[in-house]
């Protein structure tokens, strides 16, 4: 048993930490939030330059060939910085779908460009009947000669505004299929969804969008197991981001409690305040170790890796929301000011709470996996 990072993982962690502290500052986060698309081109370029966009893409396609534990290291640090990049959409979900199901031509053409950061992809899966199963896809793809015509609407899709291509899940005869669709295709429109939201969420309308048969990723009607596999394996990566975010919420809260004076003493000396910070630490550590174990199980092909993945996502969703909640209890009015960085973490925690499944869904999955 050895729960430490390898030397190269520790170096990776230090590198990303330094990069984020330099480029993803509180001021920069506020600018990104106020921008049109929410896309930090400068940070994206920096990540790409040192090979982090393609970290988990196989080396033969220009990526880093990293493990899930390596991805975990990257995502802890992105989460600490609350970096709003399309990395998860492009470099994890879409890249892994292509690795699992893409044709040799699709892999050769797309993966190296995804790894270099030049091409950004987003996964258009969820619809009005919200959920993460292929069953819940209603958007249709109808065959017309050598082409498919896509008709329908996707909602709550991250990063669609900045993506060059989308992987769209659509209903075809015999099941659900995946289609590569250019973002600029005639009939395709993207709308920003506003609200108490971290990053960007979009609605995508596809009105008679025509794509060639070569745009199908994998087997026609065979998307369900691909989506199931890739989403389940990616959940602990997202969990790592949420652990990193919880860690920063902890540090912000701890430091404030140590310096803010009320009734003649630092508020951290009051047990009521301490209780909030202890809740943050406990939630953060529970999520940290379930996530670490889940990533390790995936890398080592443990037969119960899906149990680990659902446990990690459920714990991390709860932890990030719990951590930011208690942070606001301690920061009080200060935490509601837009100039204070905590609100980025808070909105992101609420958004990622349900992304790839809220705790309720993962508890149901766990009940099935535990044969209850």
């Amino acid at each position: 048993m050895d729960l430490s990072l390898t030397e190269s993982q520790q170096m990776l962690k230090d590198t990303i930490r330094r990069l984020m502290e330099r480029e993803c500052t509180a001021t920069r986060l506020k600018e990104i939030e106020a921008s049109d698309t929410g896309f930090p081109a400068d940070i994206w370029e920096s990540l790409a330059k040192i090979g982090l966009v393609g970290l988990s893409i196989p080396e033969e396609f220009g990526g880093g060939g990293g493990s899930y534990e390596d991805l975990g290291v990257l995502y802890y640090e992105l989460g600490r910085a609350c970096a709003p990049t399309p990395h998860f959409s492009s470099g994890v979900l879409c890249a892994q779908i292509l690795v699992e199901a893409g044709s040799p031509a699709q892999k050769a053409e797309l993966l190296p460009r995804i790894a270099s950061g030049d091409l950004i992809l987003a996964l258009a899966l969820t619809e009005q009947d919200f959920g993460w199963e292929a069953d819940q896809v209603a958007l249709t793809a109808t065959k017309q000669g050598d082409s498919y015509v896509l008709q329908g609407t996707k909602v709550f899709v991250p990063d669609a505004q900045v993506a060059h291509k989308l992987i769209v899940a659509a209903r075809t005869p015999g099941g659900v299929s995946l289609f590569l669709v250019d973002a600029g295709s005639p009939g395709l429109s993207v709308r920003n969804v506003t609200g108490f939201i971290g990053g960007r969420l979009n609605e995508i309308t596809l009105d008679s969008v025509k794509v060639p048969a070569s745009a199908v990723v994998g087997v026609v009607g065979g998307a369900a197991p691909v989506l199931d596999l890739v989403l389940a394996r990616s959940a602990p990566v997202l969990a790592a981001y949420m652990v990193g975010g919880s860690e920063m919420a902890f540090e912000i809260t701890r430091d404030y409690a140590g310096t803010r004076v009320a009734f003649g003493a630092p508020i951290g000396t009051f047990q009521r305040v301490q209780d909030h910070i202890i809740e943050i630490v406990n939630a953060m550590d529970a999520a940290r170790w379930t996530t670490n174990e889940a990533l390790w199980k995936i890398d080592n092909n443990k037969p119960d890796w899906r149990i680990g993945a659902s446990l990690a996502k459920a714990m991390a969703s709860e932890a990030f929301t719990t951590a930011t909640h208690h942070s606001h209890e301690v920061l009080a009015g200060l935490g509601s000011v837009k100039d204070h960085p905590i609100h980025h973490y808070t909105t992101m925690s609420r958004t990622l709470y349900w992304y790839l499944g809220e705790p309720k869904l993962h508890r149901q999955k766990l009940a099935d996996l535990l044969e209850l």
Partner: protein, 398 residues
């Protein structure tokens, strides 16, 4: 990272040796009872016999030096001994000498005291209790009142201790007492090894609703010689604190949560209204919640074990693990009551669930105080986090 234990061929050979030895030397009765307050006949003798045999072999304290009664074994072999004992649900008599008192003597004792006290403790010949708590000094231990008045080269002890020990009789009482009535708290305490058969010591059992039995201990003009004092006359608080980490969740081991596995298996098997209990949607969710908590506790224990064996200093990990367990047990009991109703509460041989394990968990779940209440764990955690008035690092683990 690696979440698995790996053993070399040589270590597996050692495991076989331990296993073969236990086949011969572990009395079949020496297994953990469902309820430590109701021991089956024969258990006490069997547990004492197992303890003495392990001690004579050097396997009771495998990591300690041979000269003090240990086994001089590497940590991997100590782990293997622990795993083999756990695998057989081996039960050993309550004793805090090995876990808490020997380390304190090692740090604070004189060479003469180490020679006199350590071998009998570490080789399992004698049982030692930690005698700290008083009727009015629990969480606020430093307010203890038991007097130790100096008379020549002796101290005379007077007062009462409570919630001490078990129903195995101790040989030695590791006692904290006030050595100077006029000095300020924390610097007015001495730590003594008091023979339990000293004239003036009265041990009287308490009746508790859960767990193993505890005792009141009365000291009536008990004379203790000066060379029974561990550390200086006023060092008792420091001596006690040097091992409190071990009590506060620090004795980390890789223990799996057997209870949750048993509970899940029971609910898959038991039927209500013609279907397995575990098919009720509310029961499923309650069981998953319990299972998730057990995974967190397991991983906290593994983390602590890894940090300890890798000599990574602890911050809040020990008290966090204790707090988590103390808070989750009542929640688990509450959910189990939802799931099983009256079956959760009975030891009736015909109606009980899991041979009384469930009923015992209901009762044990109210016992969150041993080793420090949850609130006391939070106080220590806040110090370790670095926000409290008192900043405190974890004490050294011996």
């Amino acid at each position: 990272m690696d979440f698995e234990m790996h053993y070399t061929e040589e270590q597996e050979k050692f495991r076989a040796e331990v296993s073969a030895w236990l086949d011969v030397n572990m009395p079949p009765e020496a297994v953990r009872p469902v309820d430590e307050g109701r021991k089956p006949p024969g258990l006490s003798d069997a547990a004492m016999s197992l303890r003495r045999r392990l001690g004579a072999k050097g396997w009771l304290c495998p990591l300690w030096p041979k000269e003090y009664g240990g086994g001089d074994l590497p940590v991997e072999q100590a782990v293997i001994i622990g795993e083999e004992l756990d695998g057989r649900h081996a039960f050993l008599p309550y004793d805090l000498g090995v876990i808490l008192i020997a380390p304190a003597i090692m740090v604070w004792g004189t060479d003469d005291q180490k020679r006199r006290f350590l071998p009998p403790i570490l080789s399992g010949e004698i049982l030692t209790w930690q005698v700290f708590t008083e009727p009015e000094a629990g969480t606020d231990l430093a307010s203890l009142k038991l007097r130790a008045d100096k008379e020549g080269d002796h101290y005379v002890l007077n007062g009462q201790k409570t919630f001490i020990g078990s129903d195995y009789r101790a040989d030695w009482l590791y006692t904290l007492a006030v050595t100077d009535q006029n000095r300020p708290r924390h610097s007015n305490i001495g730590a003594f090894i008091v023979p339990a058969n000293s004239p003036g010591v009265t041990i009287s059992p308490m009746e508790l609703i859960a767990g193993q039995n505890k005792n009141n201990i009365y000291y009536d003009n008990v004379r203790v010689s000066r060379d029974q004092l561990i550390g200086g006359e006023f060092d008792g608080w420091k001596v006690a604190n040097s091992t409190l980490e071990l009590e506060h969740g620090g004795a980390s081991r890789m223990v799996e949560g057997h209870f949750v596995d048993l509970l899940l298996a029971y609910c898959r098997r038991a039927t209500r209204n013609g279907q397995p209990l575990s098919k009720d949607p509310a029961v499923r969710d309650a069981l998953v919640e319990i299972w998730m908590g057990a995974q967190v506790e397991r991983l906290f224990n593994w983390r602590n074990y890894w940090m300890r064996t890798s000599k990574i200093p602890w911050s809040w990990e020990g008290c966090q693990t204790a707090l988590f367990r103390k808070q989750s047990e009542p929640r688990v009991a509450h959910r189990v009551l939802d799931i099983l109703g009256p079956y959760a509460l009975t030891t009736d041989p015909k109606l009980q669930a899991l041979r009384g394990e469930i009923e015992n968990q209901q009762r044990m779940s109210i016992m969150s105080h041993p080793g420090g209440t949850p609130e006391a764990q939070k106080i220590v955690m806040a110090r370790r986090i670095g926000i409290a008035k008192t900043r405190q690092k974890a004490s050294a683990i011996v």
